[in-house]
Structures are given as structure tokens and as C-alpha cells.
Amino acid sequence: MLSNDNTAIFLCPPVNGDSQQIDLKDIEGFAKDKLKVSHVWDCASIPVLNADQVSKKIQSFNITKIILAGQKPGFYKTVFTRAMKLVGEDPANVMLAGFSEYGAVHQSQTDLAKAIVACAYFDVPFEQAIPKQAHPARPETLVIGGGIAGIQAALEIANGNQKVYLLERTGTIGGHMAMFDKTFPTLDCAACILTPKMVEVGQHPLIEMLTYSELTEVTGIPGDYRVKINKRARRVNLSTCIGCGTCAEKCPQKALSEFDAETGMRKAIYIPFPQAVPNKYLIDAENCTYVKNGKCGVCVKVCPVEGCIDLDEKDQEIEINVGNIVVTTGFQTFDARKIERYGYGKFDNVVTSLEFERLVNAAGPTGGNITLQQKDKKGNRVFLENGEVPKSVGIIHCIGSRDENHHKYCSKVCCMYSLKLAHLVKEKLPKAEVYEYYIDMRAFGKGYEEFYNRIADEGIHIVRGRTAKVSQENGQLMLRSENIETLELLEQKVDMVVLAVGLEPREDAKILATKLGISTDPDGWFKEFNYAGDPVGTFTGGITIAGVCQGPKDIPDTVAQASAAASSVLQNIMKGHVQMGLGKIKGDDIEFEAEKLSMKKEVQL
């Protein structure tokens, strides 16, 4: 057992922006009473926290080991290592007990924080001190969200010969990636590389797709979850629909197409896009005349398959049992209306990047022609295939991201997709002038910087300096910005403005997190078990997260994470059991285990 007198615990107040949720007084009491550490000091009480002051303290109390306890104590560490070195002690004996490293942020998690301190005190790695409580694991897995992350995770697990349920909210899998035109930096067309995977999912004997369905309730324990799922009424029979499209042809009711980011129209009975999986039609109850008024039913009359369309179908609740759950629910884009000065929703031809993505897509509403926006008879904004072509396009980065007034975080992908969009404009309209307005160009991935250099050589005006506002003058849009590198004030007139909107957690992410018993971080993304060590685990056993729902990321990182999440699942299945999540384990038990392990170590020594 360590001599208590040689160990000091320094309490580190939270750094900038972290709200002080765990009371350091509680930790102090714990350290003094329970761990019997007599030297417990609050860093805030040291007037000048520099190496001299700390080394005086170390010397006068004969300290040989220091534990820094707090939300992010690493920000305090270097002064202590320096001080230890100054007095000739081993700097490696400065240990961190960071509460937020293992998700202890709320007052209610004070016990967990105490356990983290105890582990540092007993010199036992926290993860090893978590008592092992294994539950037998069912071999089935539920993947929530059918975007690229969900597809990848499902395939990975199913290829390991295990049953997977793939739950998807919309009528098709594919997610956001299916909406994109090309993918940076290689410019593969997104559909070309994604659709084979979607087809593979559709054909895989071990994957059961639950499309147009939503999760309603999760009960049970890790390894044996009972999941209630609401299968929304598709009103078209999945097994008999032959996807001929006659129904949509005759359907009288039009609606904005979600898949086209509302830049185009679809019918009330529709297929989200031509390569959808399952390639079957569905009825949008909100717009269907029959569902609303009880009159119409044209689709039923024209459908060549008897009984395929059932306009009176009701939602259906099913229950499945799974051992593991992978959450891959993705993101939504920032609502550009929130920043009025960019004129989204006010001026025609100020579009979001997702809308523009559909506009340049060969399968989009204009067949890939970039055209200016028009209003149809009903006042809906539409893009027509033979519409007027913009002569100049401005792309503004960081809309809603890196902004204290909106999202503080960086959305990670916008710089690159903006460069890609600029390239696509130039490719389709070689005479058009393209302007990019950025703050920092974040071209970080493999081949990204090379891509950036290439785009810069294509004659695109890349301006450092975020545009401040968009106004309309004589039918053109005017962007006012500062070119920071040339120190010029620019007032650039363009025909079209693309807002590079950031990514944000889905509206219902919090609700889903509550249902699953996983936590979210202050920005609303799902919280991983450990930032560096376990970026896909959660505090709930048998539940892993992957893709953008954990934090913004690009496709390769999403895919890698999805596979990593699948790895946890496969490992659990192969072992035959699932560990109880940290969220359900008492701080006291961890503390007890840590003490036990440290004794064992002493004995071994």
C-alpha cells in the first residue's frame, strides 16, 4: 500500500466553457475521508500556479506522487511535471484523473468521478477496474440507420454469418451519401460506389431490412434487448410490388421530393430514387389524396398486381430480440434560415450545399444541369432542366459551424465538399466564375490537400475570408467579404450562392439516446466511451455508435468506424457474452475492484 503522506491530490477546476457539474468539494471529502490522503489542495486556491510554487509544496510535504483530479486535468499537468523534475522526483508520477475522459460530467456521476480518482490513486487502469459482469449474448444485431455507416456495419456483421436487422426511417437505405453527386477527393460518383453496397444489403440472406420504420422502445439487458419497432404503413406490399412505376405515373398528387432536398417534385406514391433499396414504391400519407380525403385511389386501379396497394394499411408494431445494437443515425444539415444575413429563404438562388448537390447530380431534378431557381405556379421554388444557367457562383464556407452563435464545432467535411462543388460547377459550366469564401481550408485527409491544390489550379477564385452578408442588387446577389490575404474589400456579384451548411445532430437524437440509455455530449452528438481508446463504444453494454451521429466525419472515417462498431459486435458474439455497460456499474464497485487489484499487484511485487 502506498504511503498516504507521499501522495497529493490537486483538484483542477474546469477549464474554459466546461460547466462545473461535479463538485470538487465532494471529491476533496472523498480523497480525505475514504482514501485517507492528507494532502488535497485546490489549484484555484494557489495564487500563482507556477513551477516554483508547486515545487515548494512538493518539497515541504515530501510528495512523491501527484494526482490531478478534475474535468480535464491535463490542462494543468505540465506545471506539475516541471515541478517534479525541479525537485528531482519522477515526473511520471503525475497521474491524471480526468472525469470527462470516461464521461463523468454531471453531478449525478460524482460516484464515477470518485472511482476515477480512486483508480489513479491505486495506480490501476480505470478500464481494468470496471467489474466484469457478463450477460449471455444473443447472436442477432440491430443496426439503427441505413446510411453508409449502417450499411457497412450490417454487411460486416452479416458477412460474419450473423443475423442483422437494419432499421431505416425512410423508404430506402442509402442515407445522405445516396444524395451526393460525386465524392471528394477522387470524384467517384457516390451512387456508383454506394449502390453496389445497397444491392448487397438487399440481397444478403442474413440482413433483414426494416425500412420506413422507427424504433419505439428498448427494454431488456445487454445481450438480450427487446426492441419494439413501429413499421409505418407503406401502403404498398413490399413483396408483391414489381416497381413498374405505373402508379406514380398516374398519381395526381405532387409533393416536394425529400431525396432531391426539396429542389424537385415527386408523386404522393413514389420511390425515393431509381436505385432505391428496396426498389419498391411507398405512399406518403401526408400528401395522398385518398388518405386525406378518402377519394382517389387511382394507384390501386392502375396497379397491375392485384392487392399490392392497400391504401388503408395501418402502422404495425413488431418486436425483435437482439443481443447488440449499432447506432448509425447520422445527421441533419444546419438550417440556413437561422442566419438571416445570408438570405436563404429570402432570395432566390441562395441554396444550401445539399440542394446544390442534387442540382449537379445527373439523377437530380435538372438532370445534372446547373440552373437558376424559378417559381412554379404554386410559388414553390423549382429548378428546371432547361432553366437559365448561372454565370457565376459563390460558395460560402462554415455556415452554422465554427460560430459561437450557432455551432461551435467544425463540421469537418464542408471545406472539402465545397471544393468539390466548385470543381463540379467548373466542369459543367467551364465559363462560369466560381468564388469560394473560407476561413481555414481544412483539407486534411488522404489526397485532400492534393485535391485542394488541383482545384486552386482550375481557375477557381479561392478567397480567405468568410462572406459576411448576401444582398440582392438588380436581380443579382451581392456578396460582401474581405480578402484577408490581399487585404481587399470585395463586393462580388454572382448569380447563385451556395451555403456550405454544417452538420448537426438529428432533431430526435436526444430522444433516441434516452430510449437506448446512451448519452449525448453538449453539442448533441452521441458520446463515445473513450475519445481515443474506444471511439465507438458507449456506456451501455452491447450498444455501439458509428458514423456522423458520434461527431462529424467524412465517408472513409465513417466506414472505418462502422466496421469498428461491427468488430465489437462480432467480438461479443464470438465470446458469447456482452459486458454490462459502465453506465450501470456503481462507482463504489469500481473503487473496490481497484483497491483489490492494487493489493494483488503489491503481493506480486
Binding site: 462554415c398 468568410r466 459576411a468 467579404s481 474581405e482 484577408i484 487585404l487 481587399e488 474589400l489
Partner: protein, 392 residues
């Protein structure tokens, strides 16, 4: 020419109210949202940059802060909560101290002891100078004129009305000359630092004349203000500026016509001018005080101690002035007298501190800054043209 970055400058400038300089990551939003910016004057970002890097010389010879009217849009839309608008405000304080060759301005901005000491000294000096003369004696009824008002120039015993006005007039002129001298010398100093010392600038003589109209125009109308949003503020500012100028003219140049024994009818020009000036100043004061208390807009969110001092001094001066007027019309002799002394005791230090050394000075600096800026721009343009001609 290369500049040495200086880590300490921003710490030195803290007392001028500068804070939050570090948040800025130079997205350029503030410059682009500001309606007053153009190539060549890219504030506030460029100024934040000079401050962050500690390029003191560049900062001190910079005219940008004067071109900002603090509409607050930059601060409102700043993605980093860096508050560039307030930074410009603080830089104006700093520049005021830079232009002031006496060094008093810096002392007033950075030390309460100096500022309050100075004010207190002149407050006492005015009171004391009245104590030298014996106050009110004899029959107060004699001091009521035909209109029932107090004959203000005869309040001091032993001094005739005419000579009292003379004494005050001499005092006024002395003060005006002193203050104007200080201010003009500061403006000359500013001119020297900003235009003369800038090696890159060569202004042809005729430009001084052709650009002079902008100085006059700006001073009279504060027209640049209207480019910013918030018309009320511009109206307030215009009212204050005109009111103040009128009041200044009335008490210095036209004192014998103003401080007279009879009470003229309300529609008489001198009373109307007085009312207009009082209203203008009062309107502005109320507006500013309310917004500063409510912190309703960006420019009112952060108040340097000197901002409040200015409001309080000007308020006191105005209120005591109004009271003198009321008491006098009401025929309250001793009240008029004491209030008059207090009025002067507040007015004198206020003028001495604020006009050449503090807040008021920007009334002069701002139009001059615009003037100098136009001169510099003129020089830049003509140099560029020369270059082009040569290149051709």
C-alpha cells in the same frame, strides 16, 4: 521594413477597456459586415490584428477607429464573440491619449486618482473663487427685475452687473482658448503622426483644400453616421453636437447677449437657442443613459468608467443649468445664486477634462480623421496612378 511583434502591448492597453482580443480567428466577417469599410480601411479586423501582434506604431498612426460609429453589427455577428465593436471604442480612447502630447489624457484614462483629482481640484477652485467674493447681501427684493426674475449678474456683492459679465466672459474666453489650444495642438500632433510621419504618404497641397469640404460637411452633419443602422442614435448625436455647439457659442461668444438681467419672452432667439441646446443635450443623455443601463445595444454593453463619468458630468451640468434657469425665472434669489456657482463648478472641470483629453475630443478628432483619411487615400490613388503611368 519588418516589424517586431510585441507580446506586451495588449496588456498595456487593458486599462483603455480593451479585452477579448484573442478570440478573433480572422474570418473577416466584421470588416465585411461593416457598412463603412473599403479597401484601404479594413477595420475592425486589421486593427484587431495590429493589437494582437502588438504593432504599436502602426496602431498609433491608424485612423480606422475614428471611421467606426459603433453600430455593433460586427459584434453581433462575430462567430467568436470577440466583440470587435468594443475594441474599436477602446482604441478611440487609446488614440485620444496618443494624440494628447501633454500626457494627461493617458493619465485620465488609466488612473482614477488623476481623473477625479483633476475634476475635484477645479470644482473646488471654482467654488473657492466665488467665496472670495461675498455672496448675496442686502435686500434680495432689489435683485428681482420687472419680469419677476432674478437679476443674475448682480448676485455678487460689490460687483456691478456689467463687470460681473465681463469677469465671466474673460473666464470663458480663457477657458475656451486654453481648451481650443490644447485641442488644436493635439489635432496638429495627430496630423503630424498620422500624415507627416507616414513616409508612404505624399499629399499634394491642393488636396488639402479640395478635401477640406469633407471636414466641414462631416462636422456639421455627421453624415457618415447615417450609413450605419440606428437612425435614433444619429439623430441623438446630431442633436447633441448642434446643441453643444450652440451652447458653446452662446456662453463664450455671445455671453453678454445671453447672461442678461432681463427675462426675455420665451420666443426670443436667445431663449429658443438655449432651449434647443438643452433639449438636444438632454435627449442624448437620456437616450444614452437608458441604453447603457439596459445594455440594449452593443455599444452600450460595455462601459469604461470614463463613459459614465462623462454622462454624469454632462448630466449634472445640464441639470444645474436648467435649475438656474428655473430658479431665476421663479425669482428665487439665493437658490439661483448657489445653483449658478455649482453649475460653473461642474461645467469648468467637465470642459477641461472632456474636451481636450477625453470623450468630447472625438467630436473634433472624428471629422479630422475623415479628412486625413481622405488625404491619405488621395495620396494612395495618385501614387497608384503614377505607378500605372510609369508602367505604361
Amino acid at each position: 521594413m519588418s516589424y517586431r511583434v510585441d507580446f506586451t502591448l495588449k496588456h498595456d492597453l487593458k486599462k483603455f477597456g480593451i479585452h477579448d482580443w484573442n478570440e478573433c480567428f480572422h474570418c473577416g466577417n466584421c470588416t465585411a459586415i461593416c457598412p463603412m469599410t473599403k479597401t484601404g480601411s479594413l477595420f475592425p479586423r486589421k486593427d484587431i490584428r495590429l493589437l494582437q501582434m502588438g504593432l504599436k506604431d502602426k496602431l498609433a498612426t491608424n485612423l480606422d477607429p475614428w471611421l467606426c460609429y459603433y453600430c455593433g453589427e460586427c459584434t453581433e455577428t462575430c462567430p467568436r464573440d470577440a466583440n470587435p465593436g468594443e475594441l474599436m471604442m477602446s482604441l478611440r480612447r487609446y488614440l485620444t491619449s496618443v494624440y494628447d502630447w501633454t500626457g494627461l489624457s493617458k493619465k485620465f484614462y488609466t488612473s482614477h486618482f488623476w481623473e477625479f483629482g483633476f475634476i475635484f481640484f477645479f470644482f473646488c477652485a471654482v467654488i473657492a473663487s466665488f467665496l472670495i467674493w461675498l455672496p448675496l447681501s442686502g435686500n434680495t427684493a432689489e435683485l428681482i427685475n420687472d419680469q419677476g426674475g432674478v437679476m443674475i449678474n448682480n448676485l455678487v456683492a460689490g460687483i456691478s452687473g456689467a463687470s460681473f459679465v465681463n469677469i465671466i466672459e474673460i473666464g470663458d474666453w480663457t477657458m475656451a482658448i486654453l481648451v481650443a489650444g490644447l485641442l488644436i495642438s493635439n489635432i496638429l500632433h495627430m496630423f503630424y503622426r498620422v500624415v507627416i510621419r507616414d513616409k508612404e504618404v505624399k499629399v499634394p497641397v491642393y488636396a488639402y483644400i479640395t478635401e477640406f469640404w469633407s471636414l466641414i460637411w462631416q462636422f456639421m452633419t455627421q453624415s457618415k453616421f447615417s450609413k450605419c443602422e440606428g437612425k435614433t442614435y444619429w439623430v441623438g448625436h446630431l442633436l447633441l453636437m448642434t446643441g453643444y455647439s450652440i451652447m458653446f457659442a452662446v456662453i463664450v461668444v455671445l455671453l453678454p447677449e445671453f447672461q442678461i438681467e432681463e427675462v426675455r419672452p420665451w420666443y426670443n432667439w436667445q431663449r429658443l437657442m438655449g432651449y434647443y441646446a438643452t433639449f438636444g443635450i438632454l435627449f442624448f443623455l437620456v437616450y444614452v443613459t437608458i441604453s447603457r443601463i439596459r445594455k440594449s445595444d452593443w455599444k452600450s454593453k460595455f462601459s469604461h468608467p470614463t463613459d459614465w463619468l462623462f454622462i454624469v458630468m454632462l448630466g449634472l451640468t445640464t441639470i444645474t443649468g436648467i435649475l438656474v434657469h428655473i430658479f431665476r425665472i421663479g425669482g428665487m434669489v439665493s437658490a439661483t445664486y448657489y445653483m449658478y456657482v455649482i453649475h460653473l463648478a461642474v461645467l469648468v472641470p467637465m470642459i477641461l477634462v472632456e474636451v481636450p483629453f477625453s470623450k468630447w475630443s472625438h467630436l473634433a478628432y472624428r471629422p479630422f480623421a475623415i479628412y486625413f483619411d481622405r488625404l491619405k487615400e488621395y495620396s494612395r490613388k495618385s501614387q497608384n496612378e503614377n505607378k500605372l503611368v510609369r508602367a505604361a
